[in-house]
Structures are given as structure tokens and as C-alpha cells.
């Protein structure tokens, strides 16, 4: 499903963010990526959806080797994964419904499919009744739910999240985790970089710890393991 083989990433300014990453993630797994600040978690995530290109090594996602994919084919690869960020990345001029539908419009889905799918995912994230509101009329947790809805609306087999609860209060963070669990239960692979110790230790899943651009720990039912 997701495989990284000897992946290195050196940024143009010389920072060596990843130093030989080898990892295999099975279909349907739920994986936390933890580690101190500056360890390379975001770089790891960015390489997966090809915002950053590894300096060396191969990344195989859904059977496609990202190193061999031509620039023109990148959109096709991205359509098979949902991406979620700490800062939600919603479009302020569009309503909740439109923000979610946007992901399907730009890949030229038919209006019928768009309508069905959008209502379906808004139901899943429990925002059906707020479909006509604008992002600035919503709480942080609700905004993150919209961005999750957008990431899964075209039914990707993989969802990647970089600190999705980073900007949220603890209680809201738990609500968001419920949604991720739900998505995972439906068979979607979830990879999530996080600093949330309580969540990692409570909803126990596979934990990959990165330090200095290397995987230092990889446990099937792991714990957070840091004191922050």
C-alpha cells in the first residue's frame, strides 16, 4: 500500500531532513508518526503526497512509484489520497458544501455524483445542517471536519494528516479522532503525524517515531514515548 525504500531528503539549503527511511504500511492500517519538533515528520508526510521530492530512494503508493511518475501524472496520484493539515486550508469565500464539492469539481465529476458524495461525507462528519455556512462561521473543530470531508469525498484509499488536531482544544481533538477512527474502520489507510500524547496513548495504534530524519522506533501497539 505505502512503501518507502531508503528515502533521503536534503533541502536546497542543506538541511538533511530525512536520512534513510524504510517503512511499509499495509492497506487499512492506522499509523501515528511521532517525534520531536524538527525531526522530519512533516517532510515524511510531504514526500508521500509529493509536495516534496525525495533526494534519493523510492516511495510506492497504491502500486505507483512516485520517483518514476511524470510531472503530468502527479494529479492522478493525488486523487488517490486525501490530505489534511493543521490549518484546515479551506477557501473562505466558499460555503461548507462548496468547499467539499470543490475537490470533485476540479476532477470533473458529474453534478449528480458530486451532490450524492458531498451529502454523504457531510453526514459522516456531522455537518449536514451547516452545509450552507461559511468557514468563518464555524468553530475550529467544525472547520477541521470540513477539511476531512473534503479529503475523503473522492474515496481515496489513503488519508494523510499532518497534525490535524494541532490547533484544536483537547475535547474537539477527540471528536476529530472519532472521525478518523470511523474512516479507518471503513477500510481507509490513515497516516497521521501528531504531538498529541494523550490520543496516541489512548487510541493505541501502530507508532512510528522519527528522530533526526531516521525511524528510531516502530511498534504495532505503541505509545507516544515522549514527555511533551
Amino acid at each position: 500500500m505505502i512503501e518507502m525504500i531508503d528515502v533521503w531528503k536534503t533541502y536546497p539549503n542543506g538541511v538533511m531532513a530525512l536520512n534513510g527511511i524504510d517503512v511499509y504500511i499495509e492497506k487499512g492500517e492506522f499509523v501515528y508518526v511521532v517525534g520531536p519538533s524538527g525531526a522530519g515528520k512533516s517532510t515524511f508526510i510531504k514526500c508521500m503526497y509529493r509536495e516534496e521530492k525525495p533526494t534519493q530512494g523510492s516511495i510506492i503508493i497504491n502500486g505507483t512509484n512516485l520517483a518514476k511518475v511524470k510531472e503530468r501524472q502527479i494529479p492522478k496520484v493525488r486523487r488517490k489520497m486525501g490530505v489534511i493539515f493543521q490549518d484546515f486550508k479551506l477557501l473562505p469565500r466558499l460555503t461548507v458544501y462548496e468547499n467539499v464539492a470543490f475537490a470533485l469539481e476540479v476532477i470533473e465529476e458529474t453534478p449528480k455524483v458530486i451532490r450524492e458524495r458531498v451529502m454523504e461525507v457531510l453526514d459522516l462528519v456531522k455537518l449536514k445542517n451547516k452545509a450552507r455556512m461559511f468557514p468563518d462561521e464555524l468553530s475550529g473543530g467544525e472547520q477541521q471536519r470540513v477539511s476531512i470531508a473534503r479529503s475523503i469525498v473522492n474515496r481515496p484509499p489513503v488519508v494523510i494528516a499532518d497534525e490535524p488536531t494541532g490547533n484544536l482544544d483537547p475535547e474537539t481533538a477527540w471528536e476529530i479522532m472519532d472521525i478518523f477512527k470511523e474512516i479507518n474502520d471503513r477500510g481507509t489507510t490513515v497516516v497521521m503525524a501528531t504531538h498529541n500524547k494523550e490520543i496516541v496513548n489512548t487510541i493505541t495504534k501502530r507508532v512510528i517515531a522519527i528522530e533526526g530524519g531516521r525511524i528510531v522506533r516502530d511498534e504495532a501497539k505503541g505509545d507516544y514515548g515522549y514527555e511533551d
Binding site: 494529479p75 493525488r78 477557501l91
Partner: protein
Amino acid sequence: MYVMRRKGITAMKIRTIKRHLVEAFKSMGRNGWMSFASISAVTVTLLLVSVFLAILLNINHIASQIEDDVQIRAYIERTEKSENYDAYQKQLENLEKVKSVKYQSKEEGLDELIESLGDEGEAFSSLKDENPLRDAFIIYTDKPQDTAAVAKEVDKLKFVNKVEYGQGTVEKLFKVTDAARNVGIVLVLGLVFTAMFLISNTIKLTIVTRRREIEIMKLVGATNGFIRWPFFIEGFALGVMGAILPIIVIAVGYQAIFDIVNQKLGTVFIELLPVTPLIPQLSLLMLLIGGVIGVWGSLTSVRKFLKI
């Protein structure tokens, strides 16, 4: 099955085109002042370009009329015998850069003179008995620009008494037309590039506000082509809108000037290019240049935002 698939695809395309159009015009509306500035930049450019082109094309037209008339008259010494004329004509025809040579007797010369002077020419009719002119060869060169050089060669020949080719005026004429052409071309190109940069900067500003949108489009798997279309349309529309005023101005203005020149100077040999092929052609060209400027400007500015 096949038909249904095809129908599905075409319907999708039309919907997508509609979306791109809506996006393009929404953006123009949102960035009203910037759009206005872009259109103005194109308008000013195309106004100057179209006026220059109209003048340039007419100079060319008039110049070529005059150039066609350029000829060398070589007058033959009175002492020469007419039985040698055929040999002399051959000799002239063999000169380099000479296209053709025509013999004109002094009687023919006088007739032509009288005719060209119209009513005043009648006075000369009495001269027919004591014709003051000489027999002459009329020489046409390959290129009008060769006139001076050929005339000099002809003047050296023994049987030639005098050469006439509108000395000085011909040279001046060519200098003026050549200079006008070159200056015009340089100005037109300079203006077009200025407008391109203005439009590209304008659209760059509108893109900055849409940066986030482009970023998200890329994340959810939109192709670069899909993202580019609204910008392409926006640039094209701005350019074409900028062409409207120049077209109106040149159409109305040229018609007026054409009428005046035709009425006042109609009898003189100067003749402007007719309105009907010129103005539609110029208008099309303006639309084309406007569109190209707009599209180029917008696509260059969107390019760097696509590298996510």
C-alpha cells in the same frame, strides 16, 4: 454503451468550460480596478499600434505607387543617326540591373507632355513644328532603389546627351519610406512588449489572492491544464476588451481621413488604401494582438504558482 460514454464526456466538457468562464469573469469582477488597468494598458498600446500600422501601410502603399513610376529618361544626342538606335537600345538593355528599355521619339515625348499638362498643355501645341525635345530611351530598373546607380552608368555612354530621373527626390523618397518603416516596426514591437508586461503584472496580482485556491486545487488532484484555463480565458478577455476602443477609433478616424483625402486631393496621384479591406483586417489584427498579449501575460504569471 459507447454512445452513453461519449455523451457523458461531452456534457462534462461543456460544464467544465462553463465553470472556467464563470471563474474567469468572477476574478475580473473581484479585481475590478486591476482589470480596468490591464484593459487600459492594452487599449493605449493598441491605439498607438493601430494608428502606426494604418500610417505605415499607407506610406508603403504610396511609396510603391511612386516607386512604380520611377524611370530614367536618357536623351539622345541630336547628332546621332536613328539607324543606330536599335543597337543603342540593345546596349542599354545589356546593362546590369536594367529591367526594360523603351524608345520614345521626340514627337511622342511632346504629345505625352501636352497631355499630362491638361488644359495648359494646349499652349504647347504650337511647338509641334519646332519640337524642342530630343528622342529618348525610357529605362526601368529591376528595383526602384537601383535608379541612381543605373542613371550614372547610362550618363557615361557617348550617345547620351542628358539623363533625367528626378535626381535627389527619388533618393529622399526612399530614405523617408525606409526610415518610416523601421521606426514604425520598432515602436510597434516596443509597445506590444510594454503591454505584455503590464498585463502579466496585473494578473500576477490577481493570482496572489488566489494562491491558496490554486494550492488546494493541486492538493485534491486538479491538473495544471484545469487550473490554467480560467487564467487563460481571463487574459484573453482582458486583451480582447482592450482592443475594442482602438478598433472603433481607427474605423471612424480612418473613414473620415479617407473621405477628406479623396475629396480634396482625389485628382493628385496620392491614393490611400481603401477602407474596406484595410479596416476589417486591422480590426482582426488588433483583436489577435490583444488576445495574444493577454494570454501570454496571464500564462507567464500563473506558471510559477503551478509548481507545488
